[in-house]
Every structure is written in C-alpha cells, then in structure tokens.
C-alpha cells in the first residue's frame, strides 16, 4: 500500500470536510505553496476529491508546471473532470456600462460553479473543494467592492454546509496593514474554521528556513460531534519539488 508520508501541515489541518480555510501570507513569505499542497492532496490517487479552482493571479500553465513537479498532472485531471479551472485573469467582473454591476458578474460566476457542482454525480459532491487563489485580486476585479466579494464568499460558504464541500481562500495580510479597521480580512478570519498564516522568521532570512506557518484550527463539529481546536506552529523550507516542514529548532 502506498501511503504518502503525512507531514506536519497535513497533521495540523486534519480533514477539511465542510470547512473554510483562510490562508494569509505576506510579500516576504508567499503561501501559494499551501495551495499547491492542498491541490495535490485533493487530486492525489487516494482521494476522489474534485477541485473547482478560481484563478485570479496565475494562468493554468503556471499551476500545471508546478503541480507536475509535485507529481500531479492537472491537464489529465481536468480531462477526467476532477479539476475545473476558471481562468479569471482577464475577466472583468464589473462592466463599465453601468447596466451590469460587479455583483452581477459574481452572480454569474457563482452560477457557473453551481452548474459544475450539479453536473457531478451525487457521491462526488461531498468531496468538492473550491479554491480561490487570491481574494485580494478578486476584490480588484470586482472594482474594490468588498461587499460583493464577501457576498460571493458567503454563498460559497453556504455551499459548504449545504453539500459538505470545503472552501480554500488565499489572501495577503500586509496589504491591509495601513487601514485602521481591516474589515475585509477580519470578516474572513471570523468565517474561517482553519486559519493558516505564513510569516517570515522573526529573526530574519535564513537559507535553511524559509518561513514559519501558524495553523489555527478552530472548533469543527463533524457528523459525530467530534471537536478539536488547536494551534500548530512550524517552519518550512520550499524545495524544488517538495516542501519540508519541521518544528522550530529541529534543524541545525
């Protein structure tokens, strides 16, 4: 039996069924590798998960190249209807002509996601992951209307409790630093069941350690009423085809 070694990140995350994961990173420490990891995990041979990916920051070829290094062929998965890629790079959600507001664009996008979901067979619906690769760019696409983006996130979240899928969202923390009340990022934090923060090391740059991850796993009630709540903190090193996770101080 081929079992992939579970790393610290997997342990900290647990199963994500029905939850919402918010990943926050900063300019110095990008957390896109967490998305790649979750993508790979969902599409691996052992699981039958389906991923709906809303790409606002990178094209398909970018993800295809990275995931191929990690041992996962996105093009094949796409043909197998396990990976649905929405290229939102050039899409202007808000039209300038006044008729269409940014809300309408997001409604249409939501409609597309629902169409994908309803076409799936019943047994697969429970294991769908919706990923948004950069919510801040979604905000840009929606012409800075945070309310519409939050509405969209709310609807995606409503799907998670309705059919039991999960939602993964990446956002940048430092672009909200100056504002007195970073409402948008706080809203996301309130919604999150799992919050992942990628930060540079407090002690500065190092060759062996590229940053640290703090995973806050809020209370999750699953079907049996099982309950967990924990905080994990560990460091990581991004390598060419894999990521190493280790506890602080366990590397010399």
């Amino acid at each position: 039996m081929e079992i992939e070694a579970r790393n610290l990140l997997d342990e900290a995350l647990g199963t994500l069924k029905g939850g919402m994961v918010v990943v926050q990173d900063s300019v110095q420490t990008s957390a896109s590798f967490v998305l790649h990891h979750l993508l790979k995990r969902s599409l691996s041979l052992h699981s039958s998960d389906v991923v709906v990916f809303l790409a606002f920051s990178h094209p398909f070829s970018h993800y295809d190249r990275i995931l191929r290094k990690l041992g996962c062929n996105l093009a094949v998965q796409r043909d197998k209807n396990r990976f649905f890629f929405f290229d939102m790079l050039m899409t202007e959600i808000a039209d300038g002509d006044g008729e269409k507001t940014s809300g309408d664009g997001l409604v249409a996008l939501y409609g597309k996601i629902q169409k994908v979901l309803s076409a799936l067979p019943q047994e697969l619906k429970k294991s769908v992951t919706i990923m948004i690769d950069d919510v801040s760019l979604m905000e840009v696409a929606a012409k800075c209307s945070t309310d519409h983006v939050l509405d969209f996130v709310h609807y995606c979240r409503a799907l998670t409790s309705e059919i039991g899928c999960s939602l993964v969202v990446l956002d940048h923390e430092d672009i909200y630093l100056g504002t007195e009340r970073p409402t948008f990022i706080l809203q996301l934090e309130y919604l999150a069941t799992v919050l992942i923060k990628a930060e540079p090391l407090a002690t500065g740059l190092a060759t062996d350690v590229h940053g640290q991850l703090t995973v806050l796993n809020r209370d999750v009630y699953d079907g049996q009423g099982i309950y967990r709540k924990k905080i994990c903190n560990f460091q990581f090193k991004v390598k060419e085809s894999s990521i190493e996770y280790f506890y602080p101080g366990s590397r010399t």
């Binding site: 309803s118 509405d151 409503a158 409790s161 930060e199 905080i231």
Partner: protein, 376 residues
C-alpha cells in the same frame, strides 16, 4: 453571571416596558461570541420548552449558520427537537440572502440535506429590504404563539451580517421596533465589534438592557490585530477568555460583573474569576503605597532628559560630567534650594533630573570620602 443573563431574558419584558435585550459582542482576539450565543440560545430554548415562563416561542434569524446547524446544536445540547415546529421558527438568511440562487437555478441537491430543518425554516431572499424583514419576523412569531397576549423571543445570530446589507439607522430602527413590539418578550443578538465603527457598537449597546462582551484573557500589546509571534499567549486565548456583563436597570443603575469562560467539547463553561488572580489582586493592590506606574506626561518628561554621559552628537564639544558642579550650575544655584539640587544640561527646557533629598541630615553631594568613618 452568565446564568443571570439567561434568566433575565427568560423573565422577559415587564408590562408597559420594552423587551429585555442583550448584545453579545466579541472581537477577533477572542472570537467566541458565537459560543456564547449558542449557549444563550440553547438555554432559552429549554426554558421555552418548559413553558412556565413568559415566552412560548422563539424566532431565530440565521445569518451566519445554516438552519440544520441549529437543529444539530439543539440535539447536541439535549433539547427535544421532535416538537420543534411548535415553538421555534428559523428565518433562513444564510442559504440565499440575496436571491442569487433564483437567478442561476437551484442545483436541486441541497434540499435533501435540510430535511428536519426545512420544516421550521423559511427563506428570506432579500435581506436588504428591512421592512419586509421585520414583518417576516413578526409573522413567524405570531404564527407560533398566535395573536394575543402570549409572547415570543427573537434571536439574531449576526447583526454584523445585517449591517453589511443595510445601514445602521435602518438596522437600529428594525431592532427597536422589534423591541417595542407587544408580543416580543426578549431579544438578543451577536455583534463582531471590530468590524464596525465605534458608534455602531454604541448605538446597539444603547438599545440593549444587557451587554455581554467577550475579551481575551491577555490583551495584546499592539492594537487590534493579534500578535501571532507569542504562541503561548495565542494558545491561551484560543480556548479561554474573559466575559464582562453590564446590566442596565430601568432607573439607569448599571451593574457590572466579570467572569471567565473556557470552551470545551460540550460547549462553553463559565467560571468565576480564577482564584489565583483574585489572590494577587487582594493581597497586592490594597497594601501598595507607591505608584509604580508612570503617567504619560511623566514618561515623556523622562524621555526628554539628557543623561550626563550621553554623547549629544550635535557638533558641540562633548561635555562630560566630572562629578563636580560646573560653573554655571553653581551660578544658577546661587539661591540654594533646600531640598533639591539640579543637574541641568546646557539645553535646559529639555528635561532635568531633580533630586529630592530623603532627609535633612543627608549631606549634599561632596567629594568627601563616604567611607571616611569606616573603622576596620
């Protein structure tokens, strides 16, 4: 204390007065408002089921969780849900608050999972329309208890979500209309205070007879956003917190109480302030005669003082204090001040050290050998 807010909500409104109202507010540093909400909600549900008290029904406005979540919650807390349609109605503002699903066509899969909850839930498809929203809540309530003298409770699980869709004035109007409705016995809502301006929080607190605020055990030093560097602090705040309650009487008297809480598998557990802290508070504070803290002005003054050995770096010749009084100093002290001797630097007005002699018999600083009288 947490029990007393549930009791106050249970006892409801007095004749000719507004309904009892509770604001539960939290912030991201200690985001357990929902746990408190769930606690109050399930407590109140069991009171209503006992049907010995003022209210006989409950209308829950669900913005942040699905109706089926609440049905599960009641089941978990041991509240009988079989007869739920007799006493609870859920206004579902969660599944489709803006009517998006109508536009794109229902995918048809979701309805099945609702089953139990769907009997007691009704959809609200346009939360922006506050007027219809109000009449829906009242309709659901009167549907439960009938028109007449019997009263019902209203619970709103997130006013913050409501405020995203409507202005504060219309939300405040809605809440006060509900509060003064004849058949509403009590009302409570949850608010994430850091998402709104301070005035919004104040408006909602004015309208409530009780305010329960949830605060972290240890306040972070740097403002609102939590400091993630201190992991142990974070860990502590992730399961425990402080619970402040403010009761406002009719005559304007205010009573404040404080408790601690701890989140556990079965829900939230309230305890009185831990004995250890209490001991410290009692044993240390009253006996202390000194002021150990510096006021803001004192802090600024202290920062201004130029220390005698500090290199000024302003191009002037460096003056090093040699332990004796300089010429200028003795001039300024021509009229000797009996209790103090000042070491004033060239740039006066920046700050100075004033030395208070402890007693008269202590001689002013001199070159005299202090160990003069030492006898070995």
């Amino acid at each position: 204390m947490a029990e007393s807010i549930c009791r106050a909500l249970r006892d409801g409104a007095l004749e000719g007065e507004h309904a009892a109202a509770l604001t539960i507010k939290d912030s991201i540093a200690s985001p357990f408002g929902f746990d408190v909400f769930a606690h109050v909600f399930s407590k109140l549900s069991s009171y209503i089921l006992a049907s010995k008290y003022q209210s006989r029904g409950l209308v829950l406005v669900a913005f942040s969780r699905s109706p089926s979540f609440y049905v599960d919650l009641l089941k978990r807390r041991g509240v009988d849900v079989a007869s739920s349609h007799n006493w609870i109605q859920i206004l579902d503002c969660y599944t489709d608050p803006l009517g998006w699903k109508d536009g794109v066509g229902e995918c048809g899969s979701g309805t099945k999972s609702l089953n139990e909850a769907s009997q007691i839930a009704s959809f609200c498809k346009n939360v922006k329309d506050v007027e219809t929203f109000f009449s829906m809540v009242v309709e659901l309530g009167t549907g439960l208890v009938g028109r007449g003298k019997v009263r019902f409770c209203v619970a709103i699980d997130s006013v913050s979500e409501m405020l995203r869709h409507a202005s504060i004035s219309s939300v405040a109007g809605l809440l006060s209309k509900l509060r003064s409705h004849d058949q509403v016995s009590s009302i409570f809502w949850l608010l994430h205070s850091d998402l709104h301006e301070d005035r919004v929080t104040a408006v909602l607190e004015y309208m409530s007879s009780m305010v329960a605020s949830i605060e972290p055990l240890n306040q972070y030093a740097n403002g609102q956003r939590g400091n993630w560097n201190n992991l142990s602090l974070l860990e502590q705040n992730c399961t425990r917190g402080k619970f402040h309650i403010r009761f406002k009487r009719r005559n304007g008297r205010v009573r404040v109480a404080c408790e601690e809480f701890c989140i556990e598998q079965s829900g939230i557990i309230f305890t009185s302030i831990s004995s250890e802290d209490e001991k410290i508070n009692q044993s240390l504070l009253p006996k202390l005669q000194f002021n150990l803290q510096l006021s803001e002005k004192e802090r600024i003054d202290r920062a201004k003082v130029v220390l005698p050995f500090e290199h000024q770096g302003n191009g002037k010749p460096i003056q090093i204090y040699d332990g004796r009084r300089s010429q200028e100093d003795s001039v300024t002290e021509a009229v000797p001040i009996s209790t103090s001797k000042s070491q004033t630097n060239e740039e006066t007005g920046k700050g100075e050290i004033i030395y208070f002699r402890d007693s008269e018999d202590e001689m002013p600083d001199s070159d005299e050998d202090p160990d003069d009288d030492l006898d070995i």
